[in-house]
Each structure stands twice: as C-alpha cells, then as structure tokens.
C-alpha cells in the first residue's frame, strides 16, 4: 500500500474543499481513484460513469503517462503523483445550441438562431424570456408621429424586436428637428421623416416590419389607420391630434401610451386600458389655442422627449408582455429642470363623453374645430387682414408710414429680427401695458415667428380700434422670401 498524491484540477476543487491535491493510500491507480471518490458521490459522478469507467472527458496521468495509454492498471510507488487532467474537446457540426434561457424552449417559440442571439439579454430576464420575446415578435404597435417622442419610441421598440411598427407622419425633416428627433440625421434634412425613419430602423433591426402612413391623421382616416394595432403610442405635438388619437383608440378598444412635452416638463400615462381612464377623463376640453403653444412656438429641451419617449417605449413593452404595473390610472409628471418625477392618480370618469357610461361621442368629430385651432397651421386666425412679406418689403421701400411690431419673446428677437426695418419688440405678454403707447392713427404691421401669435395680437388690436395687419408667415416667411441670410429657428 503506497501513499500517493492526486492533483485536482481547478473545476473539481469545489468537490474536495478547495484543495489542489488529495493524498490517498492505494496500490494501483484505479484503486487510488476509487479511494478518492468512495465517500464523495458528486466527485465520483464527475470522473466515472455508471459502470465505473473513467469518463471520456477525463484523463488521469500517472506521472507523465496517460492511464488510457497504459496496458494495465499500474502499481503505484510510495509518493507517486496522479493528475486528473480535463479532456477538452468539442466541435461545431451538431446543431448550435444557445445560452441559458434558450435551448429547447426557444425552438418551440420559433425564434431563429440570430434572434436568440440578438435578444439573448431579454431571454435572460424571467419577465421577458422566450415567451415574452415571442410576444414582442408578434406585436403590432402604431406610432403617431415620428418626431421628438416618436424617435426614441421607434428606436427602442425596433431594437426590442416588436414585430411590426406602423408610423403616421406627414412631415419632412427640418434642421430644427435634429436637436431632439434622433431618428433623423443631418443628411436626411429635407427628406420625408418616414423614409428617414424607415432607413434608420432597418439598420437597427432588419427583421422589424415598418409600415408607414404618409398622411396627417384626421377624422376621415384615423379609424382605418388605427384599426388592428395592439397598442397606439401618441407622439403627437398638438391637441387636435391628441383628442383624435384618444377618441379613435377608445372607439377601437386599443390602449394608448400617451406622452406630452413642454419645454422642461413632460407627462406620460396609459389611456384606454381596461377599466382605466382615457385622455378625456383627465382633460375634458383642450386649453384655449393661445395657451397651447407647440414646440416651434414655445421651444423644448432636446433631451426631454428622450426621457418621455423612453418611458412610453417602456410602457408599451410592458403592455405587450403583460408584465409589471402599467401607468394606467396614473399620470407621471416629469420636471427635467428640477429633475422631479411626480405621480398623480387619475380615475375613469363615468360621465366621460367618450369612454363613460353614456358616451356622447360615438364617432370622430372635427378636432380642429373642437380645439379652436385654425386649420391653416402656421397661418393666422380667421378673418384677420394679412400682408405678404413681399408686399411689406415694397411698403418699406416706398417709405410708407406704418408701425412694425414684433410680438415674440426677447430671446427670439435675439436670434433674428426686423429691427433694421424699424420693428419694435412688444412681446404678447406685455401687450396690454404697451398698447397705450401705440399711435392709433398709424397702421400697424404685426409679426411673430410664423404668424399665429401675431394673428391673435392683430385680433385684439383691431378690437381696440387699431388698423392692424398680420404679417403672413411671420419672420420665417421674410427669411425665406426676402432675406435668405437671416438666421431662423
């Protein structure tokens, strides 16, 4: 009987209390292995099969000789050294398997090998897993708007493997969009937002089917376009569309993931889900048009739609997976400047005109009218006299006597103005106090950025007895048609 030492490779050390070698007393190599494993069933299972034969992925060396190569079980001398050497082997031809969470389950779900790899980090999460990923693959999500909110939503839903994504938009990419609309890039300025989106999304995930609707969503087409989608994500930037999306989604029984942004503040909620409120439960009527500025009028902090949009994408994916607690019956209020997230509880209103017990809105209405917005966006209020920029230039050239009033904010004036043409800055907010200083005997030409705010001012001025005219298209039109060197925003 000899006392021999058996070297243990690192992977097997957990079975022998972490030791790198174990001493046993034995006459032969096989006996030494039997001693090593006799009271250690787990180690035994690693080294030998049910018949007691050394497993084929294990080699045992006696000194420098492989036990497999020796004709018989060698007799050991005192102090002999045995080494357990892993046999490292493999090959590529059998069907490739995948990582934890994949395997047979994945086959059942019909995910391809490429998809298993692409979504492996999702498959590892119990709340997603193969089943959830398959749900995402089978999901159909409609995005209203491919702008600030639609950008992160589209990017993340595409990356997450939502099978079909529809996008409704009718705009072209503008330079002023690039500060926040990360779907689009500099090279796509002037091209269709939908084409830009399609190219970008395809580059991220060519498996996702992107369907585009190059139109403005309106009462005439909304039901047809929105029909058949599992979730609608509202990334619109105006109240008429917001009410339209809400009403159509309620009529079709589709939940809406709502998001809205204003400068540094954002809102997110899930409307129209089972037993949950809709947008109208919360906001029965829109604010007056003059208190509902767009991004173009009010400005927006570029990162904010990223925050709000990614939360919308999160809620969308949760709805598809049926996991977690959606923002149903809750509205999340985000203040990026203070970096505060607040939450308000909201309830379905039994008297809601669209989702209540006795709805009065059973078909889509005229939402522009409902919101008090002029159909001609970027133009001016109805019935207000207008002057074209080219005509204004003629008046200036002729030396005609009139007052030129800029009703924008001072920061806008800093970007561009008609000060060299004699314009005077009178922001809308200070209008009432300054109006007394204006000469009622001299005609007024009033302008803003695009003509909407100045139309309101003209309306008020005319009521007060002034001979006021609105500059059609605002300073943007001037920059486009008269002074191309003027910076715009």
């Amino acid at each position: 009987m000899a006392r021999v030492s058996i070297r243990i490779p690192t992977p097997l050390r957990p079975f022998v209390d972490g030791r790198s070698s174990v001493d046993v007393e034995a006459e032969t190599a096989h006996e030494a292995l039997a001693r090593l494993t006799e009271s250690n069933e787990r180690l035994r299972a690693q080294l030998v099969d049910d018949d007691g034969e050394l497993r084929n992925f294990v080699n045992v060396y006696v000194g420098t000789s492989n036990l497999r190569d020796l004709p018989e079980d060698p007799v050991l001398e005192e102090g002999a050294e045995l080494s357990i050497i892993p046999s490292i082997a493999g090959g590529r031809t059998s069907e490739m398997i995948e990582v934890t969470g994949g395997g047979a389950e994945a086959e059942r779900a019909g995910l391809t090998t490429d998809e298993l790899r692409r979504y492996s980090r999702h498959l590892l999460i119990p709340e997603v897993g193969v089943e959830g990923q398959e749900r995402l693959k089978g999901a159909r999500v409609l995005l209203v708007g491919a702008g600030g909110l639609g950008s992160p939503v589209a990017l993340y839903l595409t990356a997450a493997g939502v099978g079909k994504i529809g996008i409704v938009d009718h705009d072209v990419v503008d330079f002023t969009n690039l500060q926040r609309q990360i779907l689009h890039d500099t090279s796509s300025v002037g091209t269709s937002k939908l084409e830009s989106a399609r190219t970008r999304l395809h580059a991220i995930n060519p498996d996702v089917d992107v369907e585009t609707f190059e139109t403005r969503l309106d009462s005439g087409n909304a039901l047809e376009i929105m029909q058949g989608w599992e979730v609608v994500v509202d990334g619109s930037d105006n109240f008429p569309t917001r009410y339209l999306v809400n009403d159509a989604a309620v009529l079709l029984g589709i939940p809406t993931v709502y998001g809205a942004i204003f400068r540094f503040e954002g809102q997110v909620s899930v409307f129209g889900a089972e037993d949950g409120p809709c947008y109208r439960c919360l906001f029965r009527e829109p604010p007056p048009a003059e208190l509902a500025p767009s991004c173009a009028d009010a400005g927006v902090f570029g990162v904010l739609p990223g925050i709000v949009g990614t939360i919308q994408a999160t809620e969308t994916i949760k709805l598809i997976l049926g996991q977690g607690r959606p923002l149903t019956g809750r509205i999340l209020l985000i203040d990026a400047l203070q970096m505060q997230f607040r939450e308000l509880s909201i309830h379905a209103d039994p008297s809601c005109p669209v989702c209540g017990e006795d709805p009065t809105i059973t078909e889509l209405i005229d939402y522009e009218e409902f919101c008090g917005v002029n159909v001609d966006r970027g133009g001016s209020a109805e019935g207000v006299p207008e002057i074209e920029v080219t005509q204004l230039q003629r008046w200036l050239d002729e030396g005609r006597d009139f007052q030129l009033i800029d009703v924008r904010e001072p920061y806008e004036w800093q970007i561009c103005n008609l000060g060299s043409q004699g314009a005077r800055l009178t922001p809308l907010g200070v209008f009432p106090t300054v109006v007394g200083e204006l000469d009622p005997a001299t005609p007024l030409v009033v302008y803003c950025r695009s003509g909407a705010r100045s139309a309101l001012a003209v309306e008020k001025l005319r009521e007060a007895g002034f001979d006021a005219i609105n500059l059609k298209g605002g300073i943007l039109a001037w920059a486009e048609e008269v002074d191309e060197s003027m910076p715009t925003y």
């Binding site: 992977p11 046999s87 490292i88 490739m96 934890t100």
Partner: protein, 144 residues
C-alpha cells in the same frame, strides 16, 4: 446566478496573435490553452499555447492534446501561469457553443470560441458552463 460572474481580459496584441493562430487551422478546428492570472473577478489572459488537435478522425471536432494540457497544469502547480480556459475555432460557424461543446464542457474554465470565416478570424465570444443548468453562459471580454 450559480456561477459567479467574472470577466475575461485580454491584451489586444495577445488577442491578435491568438486569432491568427486559430485561423491557421482552417478549415479544420484549431484549439489551445488560455494562460494568465486571476485577480478578483477578472481573468487576465497573459498568453496562450496552441495545442495539437488530437481529434484526427473528423475535421469538425477538436480535442486539446492531453499532454500539452498536462504540462500546462503541471506548470501551474509549480507556480506558473494559471490555466484560465481554452480556445477553439468554429470554421464558418457562429462562435456559440455547439451541442458537442456543451456535452464535453468542463465547468469553471472559460471557452473562447472564434468564428473563422473563409480563413479569417471574425467574431470571438467567451462562455462558461453553468454546472447547475448544464448550459453555457456568456462572459464579457475586455480588450486591454
């Protein structure tokens, strides 16, 4: 997770040499031993040793020469470089473990798989067997 998550670090020069070596076996499978040190949750590759592929019957299998591994493990015992794991190539196949790889896998060691496409190394990924599930888990590779 039953397997503590560690990561593999490899210098770009060593990695480039390793990939070139792995590609040499094309269209057969090349294999070898990863050597280095362990620092906390990091496994730092400091070198590698190509090993003869002893699975001579088939071009799509590999078996790390047992004698090469014995010597590497003996050197480790003497205070030499640690055997951190192994690498092998998947000629014209994804660098994900095959069923054969899984059946023959050892726990603890890292398995670096290199996709070699028409003779050129393309993609490298690292895997470790989870003994509890019998499945491979991917490990991150940090190139230093």
């Amino acid at each position: 997770m039953s397997v503590p998550r560690t990561r593999l670090e490899i210098g770009s020069k060593i990695c480039a040499d390793l990939l070139a070596s792995a590609a040499q076996g094309y269209p057969g499978e090349a294999c070898g031993i990863l050597l280095g040190r362990i620092e906390g949750d990091r496994r730092v590759v400091e070198g590698f040793r190509p090993a003869p592929n002893r699975w001579s019957e088939r071009v799509d299998r590999y078996l790390v020469d047992p004698e090469s591994l014995r010597r590497a493990l003996a050197a480790e015992e003497e205070g030499g470089a640690r055997v951190l794991g192994f690498y092998h190539s998947h000629p014209d196949a994804p660098p994900t473990p095959s069923e054969t790889d899984r059946e023959l896998a050892w726990p603890w060691y890292y398995y670096l798989i290199i996709r070699v496409a028409t003779g050129k190394p393309e993609e490298t990924r690292a895997w470790e067997l989870d003994v509890d599930t019998g499945r491979f888990e991917e490990r991150s590779i940090h190139y230093t």
